[in-house]
């Protein structure tokens, strides 16, 4: 892992789990798989502490263990998984938009606890929801478990893999099976979950009979969040919004329908979705859209013809079969990200040169000036600036064997993968910087924060004991006006930095998805 990634991982671990876990995680990330003894020696902590830290890491899926042939067990940290901690807010927000409050809280609980059995997850969420509701009402467990089942159906959560001892066959099929639970909630309702779906194969339905009511019946079946599925969803979202901005709303709805239909049938790393016939798409359009079949066909033809090439026509059966070209879409989105970064950093003329080089691959200095219609001096200056930032590379083509500069062609070119990786690295460093700055701000104002916390505690206790308004007022006065202002500023700044961390994370997601998709292709 690069330095920037390591730094970011250690910051995330420290913020979420504390210093001991951070030390252990750091050591694992830097040195690779090692057994427990060496780990204890490295970090200089007590063996007990190291064991507990490892438990935490394993529970959250941030580390793995593997029994080695000589009896020792080696532990290995998973760096990319640690970086996903940054994205937790986005996962939770997506669950909220798709499944409402129960969904949001379920995903939050699962993320915060790593692994949870279904019964305890549902119970916790129901309690939390009950707290926020009005007095006298309480949340029905069955509603929450219904949401849980829906999450499992659409693959957003999955069962945890059993320890390596179990045969891998059984695991793959049962990844999304929800166990039968007799949840004794309000009103003693029995809830029977009887859906079974496989991860990559077609769905099969099976009825399960009988019911059990001893708690907890699903002992040993733990659930975790399926991050891959969320990533798929984010990618689809980005695609749909790109189509909406380039074409119009209806086209984006068509593309969204196509993507929704291929959610569970397409493997997560595929470069194309399965072919969908136009009749199927017509049947699956959302109810509000009553466009006729002919108009739908026109939209599909337009999408297939568009220079963006997001949708391709793969045959004529069933009224025309269409696929969504996922890899191409990711490439377009990633190059658009690169272009926007160049535009904001260097100006729109530089962006023009950048796009020109992306299209024409290799160009001489003179040709760049001619095509971009920029005066020679400025073009030269911009090209050199971009070259110094390594966004643009020079390719030498010598005319003579001795590579004399006056007799060599120098061609400018853009290496998209290299530029993407470099900018990804920059993103990681930026997020780390933002986190550092946030901690710094909190540290600076620690005294003030403590004071305000004390005042609040006093206020709360006084209110509980029924003090008068004057006394309350006096306590509030302990925080002066300027201090209040400072607190306000602090809160605003911290929120701003949090929000921008999330925004940079969006860029990280885009670039990572692009790099992954390009590396996977043969």
């Amino acid at each position: 892992m690069t330095q920037a990634e390591l730094r970011l991982c250690s910051l995330l671990l420290r913020e979420n789990f504390g210093e001991i876990v951070e030390k252990v995680g750091n050591s694992l990330l830097r040195t690779g798989p090692r057994p427990l003894r060496l780990l204890v020696g490295d970090t200089g902590l007590l063996p007990d502490q190291v064991k507990k830290a490892l438990c935490v890491l394993l529970q959250h899926g941030l580390a793995r263990y593997e029994p080695q042939p000589r009896g020792a067990v080696e532990y290995e940290a998973r760096g990319e998984r640690v970086l996903r901690i940054l994205r937790y807010p986005r996962y939770i927000y997506t669950a909220k938009t798709l499944y409402g409050d129960p969904g949001e809280l379920l995903v939050e609980e699962l993320l915060l606890h790593g692994h949870l059995p279904m019964s305890s997850a549902v119970a916790r969420v129901a309690d939390r929801l009950t707290e926020t509701m009005e007095d006298g009402k309480s949340m029905d467990l069955s509603e929450v478990s219904a949401t849980f089942v829906r999450l499992a159906d659409t693959h957003f959560i999955q069962r945890c893999a059993a320890p390596p001892a179990a045969p891998p066959e059984a695991q793959a099929k049962d990844r999304f099976v929800v166990p039968r639970l007799g949840l004794v909630g309000k009103g003693k309702r029995r809830h029977s979950c009887d859906e079974e779906e496989e991860g990559e194969h077609k769905a099969k339905r099976q009825k399960q009979e009988g019911g059990s009511s001893e708690p907890p019946p699903d002992d040993g079946i733990y659930w975790q969040v399926n991050l891959e599925r969320f990533h798929q969803h984010f990618r689809d979202q980005a695609l749909v919004s790109a189509v909406a901005s380039r074409m119009d709303q209806t086209s984006s709805e068509v593309v969204r329908t196509m993507l929704r239909m291929s959610e569970v049938t397409t493997a997560s790393g595929a470069s194309h979705t399965q072919p969908l016939s136009s009749n199927e798409i017509f049947r699956s359009l959302p109810a509000g859209y009553n466009i006729s079949k002919a108009v739908l066909d026109q939209y599909l033809a337009l999408l297939a013809d568009d220079p963006l090439e997001f949708v391709g026509k793969s045959g004529d059966s069933g009224g025309g079969t269409y696929t969504v070209n996922l890899h191409k879409a990711l490439v377009s989105l990633a190059t658009a990200t690169l272009e926007s970064i160049v535009e904001e950093r260097f100006g729109s003329r530089c962006a023009r040169i950048f796009r020109l080089l992306l299209r024409k691959k290799h160009l001489e200095q003179k040709q760049v000036e001619d095509f971009a219609m920029i005066p020679a001096k400025e073009a030269k200056d911009m090209l050199y600036r971009m070259l110094s930032e390594n966004l643009v590379a020079l390719q030498e083509i010598p005319k003579t064997p001795d590579h004399a500069p006056s007799r060599t062609f120098y061609l400018y070119t853009v290496n998209v993968m290299a530029a993407a990786r470099m900018l990804l690295h920059r993103c990681y460093k930026s997020v780390a910087n933002l986190m550092e700055r946030r901690h710094h701000e909190m540290r600076e104002n620690k005294r003030l924060l403590e004071k305000s916390q004390r005042v609040e505690a006093i206020l709360a206790s006084m209110q509980a004991t029924g003090a008068e308004a004057a006394q309350l007022h006096e306590v509030e006065e302990m925080i002066t006006g300027p201090e209040r202002q400072q607190l306000e500023n602090l809160k605003r700044n911290v929120n701003k930095m949090d929000a921008s961390e999330n925004q940079v994370d969006e860029t990280i997601f885009m670039l990572e998805a692009f790099i992954e998709s390009t590396m996977k292709r043969p």
Binding site: A336, R352, M373, T507
Partner: protein, 314 residues
């Protein structure tokens, strides 16, 4: 009876020359040595050579090399009068410049071709310029380079730069203005198409504009002093494509439809950008000029970053 020896009369040198000139005038494309020999069979080769040399030095004959051998051609009398005052070297230089035609030739190239030293060349060039036989034109590619061409020739486009250059200066404001005008035209066309709310095929087709339409629009606007051709407009539209504001498709058009070139037509359409400005550039770190020097505990660090401080105060 004594034998009368008939002494062959030595032909008069002047006669030979005038005869040769007559022959040349008969064959304006040039005559070879063979032709002269056939005409005057009794002449010796040496006398022929002397006569031809005299004509060449007087500037009345041109010596050319062809696949069949050497050719002699009558020199244009007007030219011959022009060059009368000059000597051989100047004639040679003038010839080289004449051969370069429209594009002109650089002084170093003249030197290579004529093998004359630099000082001589410079003197001759000054001489010819003062006689108004050649002129120097500044090349737009390398601003210090001067190319020489005949006085009455128009410099080629590649030297002066064409419509975008006026007096060797690239007119960037002109290009900018054209850029914006073309974009506005395409944008309004796309909006009109979107508001028409017909079925999507027609909507999209009507939002396209061919390069010919744009050309007509720009001509009618009359913002250009110079006459612009369709290729010029296409280069402007290409810069709009590189700006990411416009996309292009090529369709096959019937020959004869207005604006089609070789059976193809280029259509342009204004588009909106694919994504919003991305997250990284919304933070100070994305645009920071000293990003690489920044690390915790250093002079430049996130804790004391002035850009962040400014950004937080917004």
């Amino acid at each position: 009876m004594a034998e009368v020896k008939v002494k062959p009369e030595a032909p008069d040198p002047m006669d030979i020359e005038s005869r040769i000139i007559e022959l040349c005038q008969q064959f304006p494309h040039g005559i070879t040595d063979q032709v002269i020999q056939n005409d005057m069979p009794h002449m010796e080769a040496q006398q022929r050579a002397v006569a031809i040399n005299r004509l060449l030095s007087m500037g009345q004959l041109d010596l050319l090399r062809s696949s069949a051998g050497l050719l002699y051609r009558i020199k244009d009398s007007q030219n011959a009068s022009k060059m009368k005052g000059s000597d051989n070297q100047e004639k040679l230089v003038y010839q080289i410049i004449e051969d370069a035609g429209n594009k002109g030739i650089w002084s170093r190239d003249i030197r290579y071709k004529s093998n004359l030293p630099l000082t001589e060349i410079n003197k001759i060039l000054k001489n010819l310029e003062s006689k108004k036989l050649i002129k120097a034109v500044k090349s737009v590619a390398a601003s210090k380079k001067k190319v020489y061409m005949l006085y009455n020739l128009q410099p080629d486009r590649s030297v002066t730069g064409g419509a975008w250059y006026s007096d060797q200066d690239f007119e960037s404001e002109f290009v900018e203005v054209l850029n914006q005008q073309c974009f506005k035209f395409l944008q309004s066309k796309a909006e009109a198409a979107r508001d028409s709310k017909q079925n999507p095929m027609i909507q999209r087709n009507s939002s396209f504009a061919s390069s010919h339409e744009v050309w007509k629009y720009i001509c009618e606007l009359g913002i250009s002093k110079v006459e612009l051709s369709m290729e010029d407009i296409e280069t402007i539209l290409n810069t709009l494509i590189y700006d990411g504001k416009v996309e292009m498709t090529i369709i096959a058009a019937k020959e004869g439809t207005v604006g089609s070139v070789d059976g193809q037509m280029r259509l342009y359409r204004a588009v909106s950008p694919l994504i919003q400005p991305t997250g990284l550039v919304r933070t100070p770190c994305g645009l920071c000029p000293v990003f690489d020097d920044c690390h915790e505990g250093g002079e430049i660090s996130p804790s004391n970053c002035i850009y962040m401080t400014e950004w937080l105060e917004f």
